[in-house]
């Protein structure tokens, strides 16, 4: 399937590049010798941290000697995607970092492109979602929340760290839906960032929070809040005390992945090289140091499988967003 996509867009320039780089590089090594990270946001955010973390591991492990970064914010990430596509022929070493919001934003038509316009290389890490309540909350398991929600959705006001209709909102709406409630009834209270949403829970103005696990785990460990459910498939190695939604009878998983994309229209050999480079890097001790330092869970899906994973996620999110009335 991959091959078909490449052939469709063959272009004289691409052909030339393929010939030039295909030949020289295959002989040299089977990894990229140079990586340029395109980060669709300013310095200091999650995308930036992930790209720089992977880059750091590349240099420290000696796999890739030449690593550079470029921050290009704007349009919720759309500007960087547009640039990568426009300048594709000269972006043979470029990896664009992105994450789940890319799927959401292209569904919402915030930018016209989707992951289909790029070449998905691999996801590297994931942050699972979780639902938590205050330590003295009457809710002890997810089922308690559902019972209260069905009685009156106003008993379970949900704090979330992003705009209405984005990740934090639809993850919990989906959980309520699969527990037999109506996703449209969810009272979602948006805050400007996960930290402020957490404060919204702690002040007692909301009863439950829907957020990334990494933003809630320490509060849980210190006993201020209790995590009722995680959206991973099985219990996580790093936090085996946390019950999953699956084991509480809700057939739902959700991973907020972060991964890399390449410019379209290059040779399969080049993409294989990118895939191999990422696979090698995340197997290094240098990367597990970076991962542990940041508390990231590994989620390595590459090439064709990553493409399928994205399609699946797009269908799930799209269906739900239609039900919630965010998409027509």
């Amino acid at each position: 399937m991959n091959k078909i996509r490449y052939c469709r867009i063959i272009h004289p320039i691409h052909l030339l590049l393929v010939l030039l780089f295909g030949i020289t590089n295959v002989q040299a090594s089977d990894l990229l010798d140079k990586v340029h990270f395109l980060i669709p946001a300013g310095p200091g955010g999650g995308w930036d941290g992930t790209a720089r973390g992977v880059g750091e591991a590349m240099i420290k492990s000696g796999l890739v000697a030449n690593v550079s970064y470029e921050n290009l914010s704007g349009g919720g990430g759309g500007r960087a995607i547009a640039k990568l596509i426009e300048t594709a022929p000269r972006q043979q070493n470029t990896l664009l970092i992105s994450s789940t919001p890319m799927v959401v934003r292209s569904l919402q038509k915030i930018f016209p492109q989707s992951f289909r316009d790029l070449e998905p290389v691999a996801s590297v890490i994931a942050d699972y979602s979780c639902f938590a309540v205050l330590k003295d909350s009457p809710f002890n398991v997810w089922k308690d929340v559902v019972t209260a929600f069905k009685k009156n959705p106003r008993l379970t006001k949900v704090a979330g760290g992003s705009v209405r209709g984005s990740t934090d909102h639809f993850v919990i709406a989906n959980a309520f839906k699969l527990s037999g409630g109506s996703p449209r009834d969810v009272v979602y209270v948006p805050y400007d960032g996960g930290g402020k949403a957490m404060i919204g829970l702690l002040t007692g103005e909301t009863q439950i929070i829907s957020t990334g696990l990494s933003e809630a785990i320490e509060m849980h460990r210190s006993g201020e809040i209790r995590i009722l459910a995680v959206t991973s498939e099985t219990r996580l190695q790093e936090a085996s005390e946390l019950p999953t939604l699956m084991e509480q009878g809700v057939d739902m998983t959700f991973a907020n992945w972060r991964g890399f994309f390449a410019a379209p229209g290059h040779s399969p050999e080049l993409y294989d090289k990118m895939i191999d480079t990422i696979a090698e890097v995340i197997a290094t001790p240098a990367f597990s140091d970076v991962r542990k330092r940041n508390g990231w869970a590994q989620l390595h899906i590459q090439g064709e499988a990553f493409h399928e994973f994205l399609e699946q996620q797009e269908i799930e999110i799209g269906t739900l967003m239609k039900e919630l009335g965010f998409l027509r």
Binding site: G42, G44, E70, V189, L202, E205, E218, R221
Partner: protein, 491 residues
């Protein structure tokens, strides 16, 4: 408490760490001086360097960078009217007129002393009250933030000259309108983005401030043709006489308290603290009408509050493990990278780190003062540069600063458009400060109002449901009617 602090000082008082504070302050000051680049960029740049260090040393370096960047930001605010950080926009209201009237040395010295006092007083408050403050900041709900922002808006008359209240009011509404551009948090709908993807995150406050101040100022200099206005101006005296110290002390005291308490609120922050301090000071002092023309109180108040608020913003980070501002979010990232997760247990689990961070605040502030006071005469000479070179320089650094934040050329276009509009408005003597006030309060005001309404099931009852909201409403009403009462009493 005291032994904890001693432990902290013991940790950081080594030659290596002192050198780190020093280099952090120096690097931070330089980065902060570049218009547009503030503590967030400075810290993000320095974090990778600190990975090899002990956690305490890393934090000490970053604290130096943090305070340095804020101080550097006020330097460019004062000297060339180009705020480096959102928090120092209010500093330029009186700092720039003071500097351009021939006293740049004094203006910078006051800023240095005020920053030092604000930071240090807030650090003392932090040590004494941190455990209780966490509870206080958690007592503030959306409804309270809404009323607090209303209180801020009521100070709008403080940002206008006598006889220009209507213009000030108009500009405030303009600022409020501008704050609605972008994605609406509550509904997820894009508003007034004209279909451009560059506008979906809204207009950046710094961009607006740079356009209305730095760039518009440079253009106005050309239009006015004041080519040689400052030539021959020396740095002016740096010394404050006894009378000035006496005038400033209460201002610094009040603004430190105000700044610190606004700083600990995760929904407010340093920029709002500096605006509130400026507004309050102008509103309630007798020489209020002279604010905006180079009044030393008008310079000291926002500068003190800004630094106090930065220290205050560490409270939610250190006691709850929750970042209350963009900068503390970056610092949280750094702490996690060192293997330290701030949480309510940090104080108990890792007292070494907790107290080292606090001790580094004292040391950072002290070094900053020591580093910058001797440098002021040299920095102040920027104003002695001939206009023909200074104006292109300001334009260059403004554009570069804006571009370096986003790497998006649209922002440069936007900056130019804002500057053009601002020049027209300023030529018609519309004041710019009320617009910035409306803009910065507008977004937070709206988000909190709509959150409060959602939480109260669509009712307005949140306005009187909780005592803290009621107290804030009463305060707001007092501010509104106080001029009337004052006039009545003076008759």
């Amino acid at each position: 408490m005291l032994d904890g602090l001693l432990l902290g000082f013991q940790t950081i008082l080594s030659v290596q760490n002192l050198l780190l504070v020093l280099s952090g302050c120096a690097v931070g000051t330089i980065i902060g001086m570049l218009p547009g680049l503030g503590p967030i960029s400075a810290i993000a740049l320095m974090i990778p360097i600190t990975y090899g260090f002990e956690p305490a040393s890393g934090m000490i370096l970053l604290a130096g960078v943090y305070y340095g960047a804020i101080f550097g930001g006020s330097t460019s605010s004062i000297l060339i009217n180009a705020p480096g950080v959102a928090g120092t926009v209010a500093t330029s209201f009186d700092g720039y007129p003071l500097a351009s009237s021939g006293q740049p040395g004094k203006a910078l010295a006051i800023a240095a002393y005020a920053s030092f006092a604000g930071g240090t007083i807030a650090a003392v408050l932090l040590v004494l009250t941190a455990p209780y403050l966490a509870k206080l900041s958690l007592g503030f709900q959306s409804a309270d933030y809404f009323v607090l922002m209303l209180l801020g808006l009521c100070l709008v008359s403080a940002f206008s000259k006598r006889g220009e209240y209507l213009k000030a009011l108009l500009m405030t509404c303009f600022g409020l309108a501008l704050s609605t551009v972008g994605t609406d948090l509550t509904s997820g709908v894009q508003r007034f983005t004209l279909g451009r993807m560059d506008l979906i995150d809204g207009i950046s406050f710094l961009l607006l401030a740079m356009g209305t101040f730095a760039m518009a100022e440079a253009i106005l200099m050309v239009l006015r043709g004041d080519n040689d206005k400052f030539q021959g101006v020396t740095r002016g005296s740096m010394k404050l006489d006894r009378q000035e110290v006496k005038t400033l002390s209460p201002v610094v005291g009040r603004s430190s308290l105000l700044g610190f308490f606004v700083g600990i609120l995760p929904g407010a922050g340093a920029t709002i603290a500096s605006f509130l301090a400026y507004g309050m000071e102008k509103y309630f002092t007798r020489d209020g009408p002279q604010f905006g023309t180079g009044n030393i109180k008008g310079l000291a108040a926002p500068e003190t509050a800004n630094n106090a608020a930065c220290t205050g913003s560490f409270v939610p980070l250190l006691t709850l493990g929750i970042p209350g501002s963009g900068t503390t979010a970056i610092l949280l990232g750094a702490l996690i990278a060192y293997g330290i997760q701030p949480s309510p247990r940090l104080f108990v689990d890792q007292p070494g780190i907790f107290w080292a961070v606090i001790a580094s605040m004292y040391i950072g502030n002290l070094f900053l003062l020591a580093l910058n006071l001797p440098l002021i005469p040299y920095i102040a000479r920027i104003l002695a540069i001939p206009r023909t070179m200074l104006i292109p320089g300001i334009l260059f650094f403004s554009i570069m600063g804006v571009y370096l934040v986003s790497f998006n050329t649209f922002d440069i276009l936007m900056l130019s458009m804002i500057a053009f509009t601002a020049v027209c408005l300023r030529l018609l003597s519309f004041p710019m400060a009320p617009m910035l006030l409306g803009f910065i309060l507008g977004g937070i005001l709206e988000d909190n109002l709509r959150r409060a309404i959602t939480l109260a099931d669509g009712q307005w009852s949140f306005l009187w449901d909780r005592p803290s909201t009621v107290i804030l409403i009463i305060l707001t009403l007092l501010v509104l009617i106080s001029p009337v009462i004052q006039r009545y009493i003076s008759k």
